[in-house]
Symmetry: C2
Subunit: 368 residues, 2 copies
Amino acid sequence: MTATPLPTIDDVAVAAGVSRQTVSNVLNAPDIVREATRQKVRDAIDALGYRPHASARRLRTQTSSTIGIRLGSLSRGGVSGAVLDRFLHALTERADSRGMRIMLFTAADEAAEIEQYRRLRDGADVDALVVTGTAYGDARLDWLADNGVPFVAFGRPWGSADLDDPRRPWVDVDGADGVRQATVHLAGRGLRRIGYLGWPDGSGTGDDRRSGWVAAMRELFGDDGAADADLEALTIRTEEGVAPARVELERLLAGGTELEALVCSSDSLALGAMMAVREAGHPKFPVIGFDNTPVAGAVGLSSVDQQLDQVALAVLDLLMGEHGRRVLNPDEIEGARHRLVTPKLIVRRSSHLAPVDEAGSTASGTNE
Amino acid sequence: MTATPLPTIDDVAVAAGVSRQTVSNVLNAPDIVREATRQKVRDAIDALGYRPHASARRLRTQTSSTIGIRLGSLSRGGVSGAVLDRFLHALTERADSRGMRIMLFTAADEAAEIEQYRRLRDGADVDALVVTGTAYGDARLDWLADNGVPFVAFGRPWGSADLDDPRRPWVDVDGADGVRQATVHLAGRGLRRIGYLGWPDGSGTGDDRRSGWVAAMRELFGDDGAADADLEALTIRTEEGVAPARVELERLLAGGTELEALVCSSDSLALGAMMAVREAGHPKFPVIGFDNTPVAGAVGLSSVDQQLDQVALAVLDLLMGEHGRRVLNPDEIEGARHRLVTPKLIVRRSSHLAPVDEAGSTASGTNE
DNA sequence: GCGAATTGTTTGAACGATCAAATCCGCGGT
DNA sequence: ACCGCGGATTTGATCGTTCAAACAATTCGC
């Protein structure tokens, strides 16, 4: 009843009447072995149910076919935590189709994360790492670049002097464009006083998103309606989270406002805002979020989708080349070392929490 | 500029003036090496920055210190998909503290999943697997049990004749108890006609949850108020999802109902119900969900939390023993081969979407 | 038809660790 | 002194694979 030992490459070799190496070649370089032999070996492989032992191969090739990614701590959950989770799904699927696997790890802080990088690298556990949640002057990217560990950041390395630095490859979502799409969409419905609800200045992502709104407003209404002062008046800043957004909007509504619609830098903020305006008796006040989290779908909130599948695809392209099946060394690279993915506005029309349609009609407008 | 080769155990041995094996012992069985030698070796390890090569160790020990888990396809996302994601977080953290890593994989269907199991097992990629989303007569569990692959299911193997079958270890959340807690909580606020909104009969999880409500109603109101017929009348069944729940409740409300509160088998259903009753002008109608997803927190929906961290802990206990640091063979086990985790009701009091407090007071009631 | 190039296959060595058995060492007992 | 004993340390073998070089079998050019 004890498990039978798994067949090794030698068992296959004997069964097929060839040598070890020939079996190995059938698996790794089929084109250099003669057709007849190849078939003979394949039959033996099938007959024995042979599978190469991954660890042995890794030891020999010094490669793991594995990509590591940190799964942040539970605490940081929140509504937006879902973005990382969905990225993870997409990455796992895309990686699988390239013969790669995803390994998770955790770390309490930046230092611990770098320590994990070191362990994973030294133990040859991973061929490359995916870094998320990049911040100004990210020490993790420096460490990885300095130590020659292949990686790609999801999120621009904002602090870096040169975004084109080939040593710091990245993929990011064009937040500015997403917010621009949302703004243009609202303007297309005849709205003019479109506000922006975002985070305090200083976060790369936040500033980028707001810039899309600023650009759209200028483009749409020119300098008369969208002078700096006007835009500043239409901007609301608050910390991330449903509650902060709601409190902030309640205060604003209490004081009276001319706002006609709101574009937000996250679904959390959008949801908080929606709850506040709804409470204040404006059932049709349009709000658009960012991230297209499940929550948005559930409550019918229009939102900008990050196209995480495209992001995952781009990450792998950067790590492995267009069609490669192994991670490339930093010096084997060619072409651009970064990719900006264009997000997509998802328009929803739930009439209960955020009806964005004009006067009861269910007419025109994109929908998914 | 090319990466310096990593130090091996031999380098350390030379530096410390001892043999390979002694270095190995310092790492794996420190107690059998003399104190003085141990320190000498430790110093050498630090000086060289040595880390054991994981693949080499795995090849020799035929062990991978890795647990595999399937990450379902993107499509099945929805609000409840978040449960798996949060479990994954918890599992990763708990596993890390036991020296284990989590490896992800995907599979389109059950057959493909079993094929992946085979690949992972044969390649010695994983020591054990965690199976989620168990269904009646789950072929995956049969395969794993038959092939002697260590695993634990998250979710009871409902179809199995014998839930105590030691060959099919499982961990699950006591859904019945969770729903019971929710029901008792509502009754404690003076409500009597507490309805149940759940899925169609036939799903193990769904039937289990409803049974908790049935038990609580009987216990609370005896046979007079909670005869089978009464309970049936208070039960609403619909497919999973926000929209189905909402439609169903709208229909119910249109026809008039005596319902005073609602306990639901998922947050999605609860959210749909909440939207419907709110729309119908019952801002204080209490609703309680299940799963405690981020959405629930965001909209202030009371919900039953699955205590996924406890689930993760139990999974590892079952796989590795109480304090072990390696996965045990199915025959090394002792004690119960399953664990039922008691969930915890999280009471929220957002007054906007589901105010459950009595007449404006913010008084008694547990909160987290 | 013979050496040279070409193609296909085999052989020894290595990857970096752990296991199992052998060796070394100090010490107490007769 | 000698033997035996037990703990500390070392030595040889091994895990399953791929690399690099050697070897065998064809084909090619003239």
